[in-house]
């Protein structure tokens, strides 16, 4: 097991971002997950995304539920406050946290057991409320901590390590997120960092509920022939509809893409998403088409990845609730306590 502290000595010439942080400043403790776990690649992608975005680590709050995936916030953003909550109920804790201080960035990390079974109700409501967050499900199709039982996202007919077939229909969290009104919906693969890092960056810059389902093979219990969440299966059946580049607006856009069409999306804060289309017929602004495309490909056993749906100028929960601009946790007595005179009015109204 790796309960070792990481060395604090850093190479003096490590590259720094615009805030003067090195990539090391975005790391956490050493992972205790199995060597080769997809989740560790996702942690690395999160570290890369926040480093690239020049976001100070302490301005991020990372929240998780219970499970292998939910352990990972220990392994990135070591200077951020973290909250390892209860099984399946990270979304409610995140919702409350997001209400209390709108100035922080909220990163929810969950797994398929956490979000698609015990936490399905909470998953639904945090998306439909438009909580401004990035919600990542590290989806491996099994309960890894309890030795590999099928989870609710395991495909029908896929086989466990011991050879048993799964009889139940899978829950496709991407389709569900679309139906529930998430305004940024994507699917990535832990084995494709070049695709995943820009997806996370774009999700962070998106205002509203951003959901990324990341297929993340479990090397201990779900990486064998017959599994549809193994490295080999996902590599063979990965149907990427687009590639994404995220760039802050201040940088000139000088990159040319000779193959296929591109389309640009300006985000609310001025950042820009450039989509390189890999499937000419896929339009991520069309939710209805996205849903039928996903279903058709799922029926063929293909794993569709990329930015699958984006509602670029969406609002979030704070806009819907018309909360004040100041973080609620910074309001003072003067803001919050109307005093005895106002109470007199209440008393009078009850006489």
């Amino acid at each position: 097991m790796t309960y070792l502290a990481k060395p604090r000595l850093h190479h003096p010439e490590l590259p720094k971002n615009a805030l003067g942080y090195t990539r090391r400043d975005y790391e956490g403790a050493i992972s205790t997950l199995c060597a080769g776990c997809g989740h560790d690649s996702i942690s690395a992608a999160i570290i890369q995304a926040f480093f690239d975005l020049d976001i100070a680590p302490h301005r991020v709050a990372k929240l998780s539920g219970i499970g292998c995936s939910s352990k990972t916030p220990t392994y990135f953003l070591g200077n951020s406050h973290g909250f390892n909550s209860v099984h399946g109920r990270m979304p409610s804790v995140l919702t409350g946290a997001a209400l209390a201080n709108r100035d922080l960035i909220y990163l929810g990390v969950s797994g398929d057991g956490d979000s698609a079974s015990i936490g399905l109700g909470q998953f639904a409501h945090v998306l439909r409320r438009g909580v401004n967050m990035v919600y990542i499900v590290e989806n491996n199709g099994v309960y890894g901590l309890t030795k590999g039982q099928f989870s609710a996202t395991a495909d029908r007919g896929s086989r466990s390590k011991r050879g048993a077939a799964n009889n139940d229909e899978p829950i496709d969290l991407v389709l569900l997120a679309l139906a529930l009104g998430a305004t940024f919906v994507a699917r990535g693969f832990s084995g494709d960092k070049a695709q995943l890092v820009p997806l996370i960056k774009a999700a962070v810059m998106h205002r509203g509920a951003a959901f990324i389902d990341v297929i993340s093979p479990c090397v201990a219990f779900n990486n064998h022939p017959g599994s549809t969440k193994s490295y080999d299966y996902v590599r063979e059946h990965n149907e990427a509809v687009n590639r994404l580049d995220f760039m802050p607006e201040r940088e000139p856009i000088g990159v040319e893409y000779p193959d296929g069409g591109t389309s640009d999306v300006v985000l609310h804060d001025g950042g820009l998403l450039r989509l390189r289309k890999l499937d000419a017929g896929y339009d991520p602004s069309d939710k209805v088409q996205a849903m039928s495309f996903l279903e058709a490909h799922r029926a063929r056993g293909e794993v569709v990845t990329g930015l699958l749906y984006l509602h670029a100028d969406s609002d979030d929960m704070h806009a819907a609730l018309q909360t004040v601009d100041a973080p609620l946790n910074a309001l003072s007595d003067a803001d919050l306590v109307p005093g005895n005179a106002a109470l007199g009015g209440v008393n009078a109204s009850l006489r």
């Binding site: 200077n79 951020s80 390892n84 409350g96 946290a97 209390a100 910074a330 007595d333 919050l336």
Partner: protein, 341 residues
């Protein structure tokens, strides 16, 4: 509620017994990870769905010891809407100060019916007590920050809000066991150390909570009566009627759990004490026996639990009957000490 409070906002939820049952796991987390939370529990009747529109005081045990493992929670017992307002405001200060869930235990009769009560009043000099929250300046000044470190000896650690400082004061909140610096550990001594500190914190709570209201009978009395919550109005009427019949009882209205030391002292000062409550199992009596180490024979229960508000007639009848059995000088001697000839 838990997420908002963790992030430094005041948050509460209003619920009833089934909601308390549903929230057990979160309550354990809030107790163990030490997150302020305020719950208004409007106690209705019965286990399960029961009598959703009827009144009882039957959630004391499920709130006092909510969630698995060793837990204990702070409860407040208002007697009418005015006191709901006062104790409600106080609950937020207590939750922030103690960094733990605080339950305001309303009876449904208070929560749902129209009441006649004193006008609500607010002291404009009062300011919110946000408890021990370390600022960026204090962290920069070099104060040692350990999320679960008892620096003041009262069992209450310091906390930081997320986003306070770029490199100091961050910590990981978790339901798993941890050491004083919030680092994951399953070491036995670290666990015991933390649980002992939580007990110290509970002792600190005992002194901070509203004290019981104690009043004496019009004549020296050897027996007393204890009640709480919506029983108050019927109790006042009953006490007057009992005095008229020559039964004099000293009175104590309990307002909070853990019980103030004066609660045990009141019981010790009387030969017999009646405990009037609105549930079947004598939950307040159980808490008194368990938490104050009281001989159960010193207490007898007056229990009303059919879902209707408790009445003066019922209390008077029960106490008058039991007084003949238990209170020397009022008829029969206590059965346990009756002389055998």
């Amino acid at each position: 509620m838990i997420g908002a409070a963790w992030n430094g906002a005041r948050a509460f939820t209003a619920t009833s017994g089934p909601g308390i049952s549903l929230m057990q796991e979160f309550l354990g987390l809030a107790y163990f990870a030490e997150i302020p939370a305020v719950l208004f529990d409007v106690q209705r009747g019965s286990p399960s769905t029961g009598m959703p529109t009827r009144t009882q005081q039957a959630d004391l045990l499920s709130c006092a010891y909510a969630s698995h493992g060793d837990t204990r929670h702070v409860l407040l017992f208002p007697e009418d809407p005015r006191e709901c307002f006062e104790l409600g405001a106080l609950a937020f200060d207590l939750a922030d100060r103690l960094q733990t869930p605080v339950f305001v235990m309303l009876d449904l009769d208070i929560g749902m019916q129209d009441w006649l009560c004193e006008p609500l009043a607010w002291d404009d000099r009062k300011t919110m007590d946000r408890g021990k929250v370390m600022s960026a300046q204090e962290l920069d000044a070099g104060r040692d920050f350990g999320r679960y470190l008892d620096v003041d000896g009262d069992g209450i650690p310091w906390r930081t809000y997320p986003g306070t400082h770029p490199s100091k004061g961050s910590y990981f909140t978790r339901g798993t066991t941890k050491d004083r610096y919030a680092r994951y550990t399953e070491e036995g001594p670290a666990y015991v150390d933390n649980m002992q500190r939580l007990l110290r914190k509970f002792e600190t709570a005992r002194a901070l909570l509203p004290r019981p209201e104690i009043t004496n009978a019009s004549q020296p009395a050897t027996a007393g009566v204890i009640w709480f919550g919506s029983t108050g109005a019927a109790m006042a009427e009953s006490l007057a009627e009992l005095e008229r019949r020559g039964i004099h009882l000293d009175r104590m209205r309990i307002r909070a759990f853990p019980f103030h030391d004066s609660v045990a002292e009141f019981i010790a000062a009387h030969e017999h004490v009646f405990v009037v409550e609105q549930n079947r199992d004598a939950q307040l009596k159980m808490l008194l026996v368990n938490e104050c180490r009281i001989d159960p024979a010193r207490l007898s229960s007056v229990l009303h639990y059919d879902g209707t508000p408790i009445t003066e007639r019922m209390i008077t009848r029960e106490i008058a009957e039991q007084a003949r059995l238990f209170v020397p000088g009022l008829g029969f001697q206590r059965p346990g000490i009756r002389k055998v000839s």
